[in-house]
Symmetry: C2
Subunit: 454 residues, 2 copies
């Protein structure tokens, strides 16, 4: 996977060296000599990843990283901080400034590229969602702040109960931890309710990567962040873990502060992605729903009817539609007010849903008109369904809570089955004509279109 | 990256061997002994990839593959066909049955895993889109058939003009090919208009992977399929190419039939993903738009107003709103019909858009009411904008084409600026009260809410 990487370092030799190594791996490279240049370049060129030196004159790496993470335009770009000194405090400071990882110079190529690949893979997935989401908004990134609430559910998996419990004891106080000393139990128990998994890979008697692979390949936990604990000299294992889809790695002896910072980073990323997914799903649902009744809207009905008509044309499955229209609905609105009108529409929608099969597609066609698409259903059967709805409505008391009025609501319907060579428009015209006959015949009745084919 | 892989082979030893190798790489493995079992397992367990033996008694690999690809539930799962015989005809037959690749036994682990990783990475991206898309539909995969139209734009890149032209001559007749004998020209010319890139990696005097990396890391061509030409013994290069994001590989000497089949597969996959993206974007846009006027809808206005109010509370940026209401609109509907009413709403929406700044957020609030959110704008300035709209509407002739009637349309507006400690509901109430005053004052005027803070 190729990508554009921004190197930020005040020393030119360092930049040139790193550029040569990344370029040999076919990455496109951008360079900046200080924090400000980096921030400007990031906004202009939106790289896929930033390698950020800690010690720079003027704005140092920590401050630069905080700026990156405070700017909605650059916030999603992963940052790896690079330093010559491996001080625990610095590492935590870097992670808390929002860095995704903190590596020590001299950089080991294999470890660096494994980490870069892993971060790019995750970014690629969120990018797909971000680009879609952006079409909702006229001004940049919509999901601005994703706080990490306390109480996250964390599963800790290790070779035995004692080791697992000891590792769990290092977790921050504000999480709900569950430790597993048996990988089989862990694999069974880790499901959608778990927010993060910590797996200890340091035991020779237990292949923790197997647990990681299982968590990653299961649909319910595919996006659950995994943090692996490795020995500092187990480079191959670390690379393997990252390539398998482990999100982050912490080395032994585990420092509780660093663990907490890395967990926060992972939870924040995961929640950001979840929020993007949720918002997209919600918007998509809104796009097909009538807000008042919760039924499908006209646009969606039209597209499903076209689809069903194609199915009829291709395999000849019978297709019928019902068009309902509430009788004298204008009077309800005029006499009892709009609130009462809305109440009746909602109550009718509920009746409609309760009287139809799950596979029937019901929606509000506009005003007080409702359309039902019945696939694989002949006209007689559709007429029975329409009659069932009509009778249920006629039986029902529509009493408006706010006013105490009891309304006498009835409904008329036209029913038609699609004919060979007929268009959707012609089918709807026939249904409409049948509805018209029902209204003219005195309302509170259904009429089945029986006219000859055109 | 871990995943669930289905092995289909009638010989148990083959299955066991392959299972052991995949399992050692931490893949989850499912096994099926014949085509029917494979199809059943695929529907039940939806693996991420299928390794399919060609020669099986009963339903052979070709037929099984065609079944996979004809079923909407399994269609998106990549299939690698595996055979002991390397016949050109079989290879093309497999690709045409919908296989993503065709490998020869004995399988080389490195080559196999590189291909598996590459296919899984691509699948992961489309899966994110598919899952979202599915929420639109109650019955499975909505994008059923993605035909490959002819006339695809294909760029061919090689070490020199002659080699590029010779390779381009092997492309199918129904594509528009452009060949590049200079990688710099190619990188310059390959943009969003190119549907697929073929890169010849067989020359020692030209690093074609550099071109692949560039195409992959550029935002405009990030999803453009790349097909690389390699020497049959250049395994490392092939692995490298796939890991860099090249979508498929064809070996020299290039067979025109195989090239055509592989190009078709790639174009089909790319168009499928594009279609998913387009449909999502379209649905998302529909979710925020009022269908009649094309302005934002009430739901979207409400969420943007909440967002703007938060901005006001946080940094104190002045925030104003205008509520427009068309004067005596009910008369337009009653006298001239609904079509005329719709025409007036649309014409007003156009005027509104032309008179406001691009950063103002304008939408239909319901019926004949329109709301405008003006961020970073004080009341006086908002009142000026409202007055500009009012005057433009008063000047304008609303002549209805269909009827020839010229309507005299005017608009009234209430304007208010958000106050400290005020809720969005209170702000809208004040704006509504100002609008009421404008109506009572004789219409065709704007009123600025100046009442004291609560």
């Amino acid at each position: 996977m190729s990508a554009r990487i921004l190197i930020v370092d005040d020393i030119e030799t360092n930049r040139r060296l790193l550029e040569a190594r990344l370029s040999a791996e076919y990455f496109e490279v951008l360079c900046a000599a200080d924090g400000q240049e980096a921030l400007d370049l990031c906004v202009e060129q939106t790289p896929d990843l930033v390698l950020l030196d800690v010690m720079m004159p003027g704005m140092d790496g920590f401050e630069t990283c905080r700026h990156f993470k405070n700017n909605p335009v650059t916030r999603h770009i992963p940052v790896i901080m690079v330093t010559a000194l491996d001080e625990r405090e610095d590492r935590i400071k870097g992670l808390e400034a929002g860095a995704d990882d903190f590596l020590t110079k001299p950089l080991d190529d294999v470890a660096l590229f494994a980490r870069v690949r892993s971060l790019l893979r995750l970014k690629q997935l969120t990018d797909e969602l971000r680009v879609r989401e952006r079409s909702l908004d006229t001004e940049g990134e919509p999901v601005l702040d994703v706080e990490v609430p306390s109480g996250a559910h964390i599963a800790v998996v290790a070779v035995d109960d004692r080791t697992a419990a000891r590792l769990a004891a290092k977790l921050p106080d504000d999480v709900a931890a569950q430790s597993f000393g048996d990988p089989r139990d862990a694999v069974q128990a880790i499901g959608a309710g778990v927010d993060l998994v910590v797996v200890d890979l340091t035991s020779k008697h237990f292949d923790g990567l197997r647990v990681c692979a299982r968590v990653r390949s299961d649909a319910a936990t595919r996006n659950t962040p995994i943090l692996a604990v490795v020995d500092p000299d187990a480079r191959d294992q670390m690379v393997r873990a990252l390539d398998l889809g482990v999100n982050d790695v912490v080395t032994r002896p585990v420092d509780a502060g660093e663990l907490a910072a890395r967990i926060r980073t992972q939870l924040r990323r995961a929640r950001y992605a979840d929020k993007l997914r949720d918002r997209l799903d919600e918007s998509l649902e809104l796009a097909v729903t009538d807000p008042l009744t919760g039924l499908f809207n006209r646009r969606y009905l039209a597209s499903r009817l076209d689809q069903a008509a194609e199915g009829f044309a291709r395999v000849g499955e019978p297709l019928s539609v019902i068009l309902f229209d509430l009788d004298q609905f204008k009077e309800v609105n005029d006499k009892h007010g709009h609130a009462a009108g809305d109440f009746v529409l909602k109550a009718f929608a509920d009746t409609l849903k309760s009287q139809l099969r799950a596979i029937d597609i019901a929606g509000r066609f506009g005003g007080e008109e409702f359309l039902v698409i019945l696939k694989d259903t002949a006209a007689d059967c559709a007429a029975d369904a329409a009659e069932r709805v009509r009778a249920a409505v006629a039986r029902q008391d529509f009493s408006v809570k706010a006013t105490g009025d009891t309304l006498n609501v009835t409904v008329s319907a036209g029913v038609a089955q699609m004919r060979d060579g007929e268009t959707v428009g012609q089918l709807l015209d026939r249904t409409d004509a049948a509805l018209y006959d029902a209204k003219n015949g005195g309302r509170n009745q259904i009429v089945l279109s029986r006219a000859k084919a055109a």
